[in-house]
Each structure stands twice: as C-alpha cells, then as structure tokens.
C-alpha cells in the first residue's frame, strides 16, 4: 500500500515538476508546480511529518502560490513565454550528470550506523506536539531569526515593489553634482 502510494506520488510529482520546468506556458508551469507541492505534502504525511505536511500546504500552496499568481497578473503572463533555449543539450547533460551523481551517492550505504536521533519525538506525542516541543526549545532561535528573515523579506518586498524605487536618485543629477562639474575644483 505504502509502496504504491510512494510510487504514485513520486511519479506524479516528477511529471508535474517536469511540466513546470519544460512548459512554455507560465500558467501551466505554475499550476503544475502547485500541484506537485500538494503532492509532496502527501509524501510528508506518509513519512509521519504531519505538521510539515500542513505547513507545506499552507505556506507553499497557500502563500507562495498566491504571491506568484499576483505577480503573474502583474507581469501579464497569459501568453506563452518566448525563451531562447539554445544549449538544451548541455543543460540536460549537466542536469543528468548531477542527477546520476546524486542518485549514485544516495544509493550507496551512506547511513551512519552509530547515528541516533538526538531529538526523537517525545513518547506519546503527536507529530505537531513533538515538533512544537523542539521548535520552541532547541530551535527557538532559528525560529526567531526566521521571523526576522520574513520581516526582512517584507521590507524588501515593500521597498522593491513599491514606489520608492521608481525614481533613482543614484542617476539623477543633483545640484551639488552640477556645481562640482562646473567648478572643476576639489572640495
């Protein structure tokens, strides 16, 4: 059962992502990306990472995709994208080679035998509970940093997307520059 589910999910995810990568249509690409991400959350559930699955759904499918859709509207991306994909052979060769290497590496018996999970789920706790316990003790700092990071992202987004970037002060001549040039002397 799990095997079937795994292969079902994996094949579907792979195909969907392939569409994302290969499609000329932005809309298709985005839709298949979103679908693939939904399916990935399925894998998470299979792995018992319920909380992560939910986060995946909410953040990716919810927030990220929403952002992308807004952006798409802004960019007017209904038409097909014209791209110059000249050296696709090279691209696939590179991608394929890396895939091969990674696969080879992961197929090797790389799992450390002496390794023991440091932060096993607490006895009897559900996954979200266990996650919460670790997240708010051990990983509280990264959590807060992530908050800062999101704040940064927000400020960045506001500045970049907002009106503040419309007129560049770095290229418009200001008065002192003009006087400098005309005076021709050092200050």
């Amino acid at each position: 059962m799990i095997t079937i589910a795994f292969y079902f999910f994996s094949i579907l995810i792979t195909l969907l992502f392939l569409v994302t990568v290969m499609s000329k249509n932005l809309l298709y690409a985005m839709t298949s990306l979103a679908a693939g991400m939904v399916l990935i959350s399925g894998l998470f559930f299979m792995l018992g990472a319920d909380f992560l699955g939910v986060v995946q759904l909410i953040v990716y499918v919810g927030a990220v995709m929403a952002l992308y859709s807004f952006a798409m509207m802004f960019f007017d991306a209904s038409r097909d994208i014209k791209e110059r994909n000249g050296s696709s052979m090279l691209v696939f060769a590179l991608g394929g080679a890396i895939a091969l290497l990674l696969v080879a590496m992961f197929s090797a018996p790389i799992i450390g035998e002496g390794a023991v999970g440091l932060y096993a789920s607490a006895e009897g706790a559900t996954n979200p509970q266990a996650v919460g316990l670790v997240l708010f003790t051990k990983y509280l700092v990264p959590f807060e940093v992530a908050a800062v990071m999101l704040l940064v992202a927000m400020i960045a987004g506001i500045i970049l997307a907002g009106k503040k970037m419309d007129v560049s002060l770095s290229t418009t001549e200001d008065e002192s520059d003009i006087t400098d040039d005309t005076q021709g002397g050092e200050k």
């Binding site: 590179l94 080679a97 890396i98």
Partner: protein
C-alpha cells in the same frame, strides 16, 4: 739610495701630471721642456743607480701595501738589480732623447702638451714594469704601458677610418684599439700564470717565487711558463698576436721609436729574462719560445722585404729582432737576449727617429717608392739611418754585430741548427730590407713631387739629441764583456762550449758574409734608383708578403666579423627573441589566458548558472581525483 729609486720612478709621473694640467690648453713649450728635464733627472738617477748596483749591489725598496685579501699580500715594492737597472737606464736614456726629439717633431701639433703627458706617463709605466718586485706589480706596468700605447697610437684620434686598401692600419684609433685588445688577450694568459703562481706558491714576490719554484711539480711549472710566455707574446707582438705592431705605426713616430721599438715591445723579453729561474726548469718551453722567436724573426723579415711603408718596414724589423731576442732567451742565453735588447733599443730608436725626420721632411709621406735622393737635403739623417741600418744588418764593429752574432752562436752552440740556419737566413734578409729602404729613401733620383713636399733637415737640437744614440749604436758592442759580467751576477752565465768557441770565427764569417751580400744585393737592386718590376709585384708570393700573409684580413674574417655578427645574433635573436621573448611570452600567455577566460564571463545569468552546475561536476571530478590520490597514498 732609496730616494733615488723613487726619483727615478716618479720623476716621469710628475712630468706627466704637470703636462696633463696643460692638456686641454694650446701648445705650451714649457711642458716639453719640463717633461724632458724630469726624464733627464730620472736618467741621471738611473745611471747613479746603475753605478750603485755595479759597485754595491741591488736595492730593494717597499713603498706600501697595495692589495691584501685572504692570504694574499701585494705590496708596491721595487727592486733595482742588474736586470732592472739595465732596463731603467736604457729606458730613461732613450726616453730622454725621444722627449727632446719630440719637442721638435711635435712642434706644430695641437696636442703638444697632451703628447708629453702621455709620453711621460708611458715612461713611468715602463719603469714600474721593470722595477717592480713582484708579478702583479709587473702587471701594473704591463697594463699601464698598454694604455699609454693605446693613447699614443691613437694620438691622432681625429683621423677617420679608411679601408684597408688605402691604409692597412685603417685609422689611428682603430690601430690603438687593436693593439689594446690583442694585448689584453695575452694579458689574460699572463694573469692565469699569476694565478697559478699564487695558488701554488702562495706569493707573487720574485725572490720568494724563484726560491720556491724548484720543488714544484713539473706540469705546473710548465703551465706557469707557458702562460707567462703567452703574456710576453702579446706585449712583444709574437706570432700570432703580431699584427698590432705594424698597425701601431699610426702613432707619431717618436712613439714608434720609444714604445714600439725600444721599450714596451721588449717587455715580453724582459719578462722571460726576469722569470729565468722558471724557464730554466722547463727547457721544453724554452725551446718552444726559441722556435716561436725564430719563426717570427724570418716571418717578419719576409714581410719587410716587400713593404713600401717606411715605418712598417722598421716595425717588421723590430718584430724580427724581437724574434732573435726570444730565440736567445728561449735557448737559455738570457744575458745575450738582454744585450741584444739593449743594443736593439739604441739602433732601432735611432732608425725610427731618422724615419721620423724623413717623414717630417716628406710631409708625412711614408711610401718609399715615392721618395729617393733625399741624401742631398738630409745629410745628417742619412748618416744616422745608415749607421742604424748597418748596425741592424750586423756589420762589424757596430753594436748589432756583437749582439746578433752571439745569438747565432748560441743557436749553434745548442745544436739547434735549424734555428741557427733560419736566423742566419734572416740576417741576410735583414740586411737586404734595411738597405733597400735606405737606398730607396736617400739614393737614386727624386721621385716625389715638389708641390707636396719641401724636404729639409730638422732642427739642430734634434739632430744633436740623436748623437748619443748613434754613438751607442756604434760603440755599444764594445761593452759586451762588461755587460756580461754585470748581468750574469743575476742571470745565469751562458758559456759557449769549447767546440763553438773554436768555430766561432767561422760563424762570424758566414754571418757577416750573408749580411754583406744582402746589402750588396740591395745596392744592386735599388742603389741607382727604383726599377719597378710589375711582374714580380703581381706574383703571388709578392702579394702574399705585401699583404702580410693576408693575416689581418684573415683575422678580420675569422674573428672580428664573426664576432660582430655573433654579437648581433646574440643580441637580436638570443637576447631579444628568445630570452626576453620568453619572459614577455609568459606575460603574454598569462594575459591571453586572462582574455580568454574572461570570455566565460558572458554577462548572461543563465551561463553563470550553468557554470555553477558544471563547477559542481568539476568538483566531483576533483574529489574523485583527490580520493584516488589519497587512496594511493595510503
């Protein structure tokens, strides 16, 4: 007495420096007078020293330290012994005369003051050479006379270079450089000899060297002898380093007389004589020296036979006589060599100075084919040159007779009949060319154009100054026995064997016979004037001789030109296109690699990303490589 040594030595230097102060100003007679006077002082001092050495014995003075490093200590030390005092007296005497002579000869020359400065400096150097008590001191003088010779040969430096056809010496400056460089080649040999002596005997002082050279390994002594002789060959213009001497005639005639006849060129002989304890140990080298000397004697004489240049003829005869000296020295008859050296100095300088008078009279014309009949206008000069030529030819009872004849006897005595025979032939040749020159110059009919020259006798005082020389050329032979006893207190006494003693008169007769026949032949040929024989002049042997066996041209073709083109090749090809181009090439490669690699920086983000992926693969490859490497190492 020590002071006298210094006076004898430094008086010429003082004169030189004095004259140098006027070096850049117009002619000032005072320089000529002062330098001549100082040289006379030097001569007087030398003469007193001669007397002192004769009566009391040698003087050895040490002025100060010069070079010291490691275990080496070279002082400025001077030795006045039988050999050096002989040389000193001879040098200062002739120099004094030549200084006086030059006052007249250089009368109209712009470089009058400069000339005297150089000339006195030369005498100083020569005195250093002969008086020094060690080999390096000798080398100072050795190089010093070389420089003065350079300065004086090139005295008329302003003359342009011409082709060899017009003037075989090309130009004074060319001849000066040739002389200097050729001498340098030999000097290297001499330096090597000095090095050998130093490292094997630990000293360069004559007395110490000669005292300790005996036990030295024979091979080493052999090399010391050879290398020192190489030095001597350069200074004394022995084959194959002889070409410079004839070219050196570009210098003013007093210079030729002083340097290239009487003094400097005999320095090589002096060195061999001085180093006699060394050469005594290696008779093979001595024999070699004799052979070289003999060869040069006839070789030079042969060139003199056909030459038309007044001074060059005398130069070749000098060369030939140097050959005699070396023959004698090489055969171990050092005092004979020294005797011939001194005698030769007197008559040869006389000859040169006479030639100078002729030149003066002929407006620097040197071609004897264009002279003739000068006897009438230049009676004194004719006399001087005649006497000198007779001496040179070895006619009894003149000085040359005694000295040359003794050399022939020595050759006979040593059973080196080949050498004797060649020298004997040479004696005949010598007589012939000397008188060929005398006759062509003074006898016969006038062959010069009156428009070019108004021959006249030179100043009186000049002629008077020559008297001592002429006298000595005549009577010096009479002092042979005194000379022998005097010098052989230092030099090995060479005694003829009984047998030779017996047939000595026969040898004398034979030698005189060939000399006289040479003169007679010359008279027959040229006594009545010049009869040119076109056929003979165009024959191969004649042309070979008149072109000095084509040796200068050969040197030019074999050494100078290839050296010049090799130098050019070294510079333009090796240095610039190979060595420097490699350096620049490395820079160029670096730069072009930079230019090529910067192309991967296309500016296109997609390419950058591809490079990143490719880089990851590259890293994998490196990792694999490193893995293999470390596995191999383990």
């Amino acid at each position: 007495m020590e002071n006298l040594v210094y006076i004898a030595l430094f008086a010429p230097l003082v004169g030189s420096i004095f004259a140098a102060f006027y070096g850049m100003s117009p002619k000032n007679i005072i320089t000529g007078i002062v330098t001549s006077a100082l040289l006379f002082v030097s001569f007087v001092a030398s003469a007193i020293l001669l007397n002192h050495v004769m009566t009391v014995g040698p003087i050895h003075v040490r002025m100060m330290d010069w070079i010291m490093a490691g275990d080496m200590l070279i002082p400025f030390g001077f030795i006045v012994d039988q050999v050096s005092v002989t040389m000193m007296t001879m040098v200062t005497l002739i120099s004094t005369i030549i200084h006086i002579y030059s006052n007249g000869y250089m009368e109209h020359d712009k470089g009058f003051n400069r000339f005297f400065s150089y000339l006195s400096l030369f005498v100083f150097s020569m005195l250093i050479l002969v008086m020094s008590d060690n080999f390096l001191g000798l080398f100072i003088g050795w190089e010093g006379v070389g420089v003065c010779s350079w300065l004086l040969i090139g005295f008329w430096y302003h003359k342009p270079d011409v082709t060899r056809d017009i003037n075989p010496s090309i130009s004074p400056s060319w001849a000066a450089n040739e002389a200097f460089i050729m001498n340098r080649i030999a000097d290297l040999g001499m330096l090597v000899g000095i090095f050998l002596i130093y490292w094997n005997l630990g000293t360069l002082q004559y007395d110490e060297v000669f005292a300790s050279v005996g036990p030295l390994e024979n091979d080493l002594v052999f090399w010391i002898g050879i290398t020192l002789f190489i030095g001597a060959m350069g200074k004394s213009a022995q084959f194959p380093l002889h070409t410079w001497l004839a070219d050196a005639m570009e210098g003013p005639t007093p210079v030729s007389a002083l340097i290239h006849a009487a003094t400097m060129v005999t320095a090589g002989v002096y060195l061999v004589i001085r180093a006699n304890p060394i050469y005594d140990l290696i008779p093979d080298v001595g024999y070699l020296i004799a052979v070289v000397g003999t060869f040069v004697a006839i070789f030079a004489a042969s060139m003199a036979l056909v030459n038309r240049d007044l001074k060059r003829i005398i130069a070749y005869s000098t060369l030939s006589q140097l050959g005699y000296m070396f023959a004698a020295a090489g055969l171990g008859a050092y005092w004979v060599a020294l005797f011939h050296l001194v005698a030769h100095a007197f008559f040869k300088s006389l000859l040169f100075l006479g030639a100078g008078n002729v030149m003066h009279a002929m407006n620097d014309q040197l071609d004897i084919f264009k002279m003739g009949g000068l006897k009438k206008v230049m009676r004194w000069t004719y006399l001087y040159m005649g006497v000198a030529s007779l001496t040179l030819a070895g006619i009894w009872p003149l000085a040359g007779f005694f000295s040359k004849d003794t050399i022939l006897e020595v050759a006979f005595n040593e059973h080196t009949y080949g050498i004797w025979f060649i020298l004997w032939i040479t004696a005949g040749l010598t007589a012939f060319y000397s008188f060929r020159q005398v006759f062509l110059t003074f006898h016969g009919t006038q062959r010069y154009d009156d428009a070019d020259a108004h021959p006249h006798e030179v100043q009186k005082y000049v002629l008077i100054a020559l008297i001592p020389l002429a006298t000595l050329a005549v009577i010096f032979g009479g002092f042979m026995d005194t000379f022998k006893t005097f010098t052989t207190t230092l030099l090995p006494a060479y005694e003829m064997s009984e047998h030779t003693h017996h047939i000595a008169w026969m040898l004398i007769a034979v030698t005189s016979a060939i000399a006289i026949s040479g003169i007679i032949f010359a008279y027959l040929r040229y006594g009545k004037g010049l009869k040119r024989n076109e056929k003979l002049e165009n024959s191969l042997p004649y042309r070979v001789l008149s072109n000095q066996y084509y040796i200068p041209i050969l040197y030019d073709k074999v050494f100078s030109k290839p050296y010049a083109s090799l130098s050019k090749f070294s510079w333009q090809v090796v240095d610039q296109r190979i060595v420097d181009a490699t350096v620049d090439g490395i820079g160029g490669i670096i730069k072009s690699t930079g230019d090529n690699t910067r192309r991967m920086q296309t500016g296109n983000l997609s390419d950058y990303l591809k490079w990143m992926a490719a880089g990851a693969l590259l890293l994998v490859a490196i990792a694999f490589l490193a893995f293999k490497l470390t596995q191999g190492a383990n």
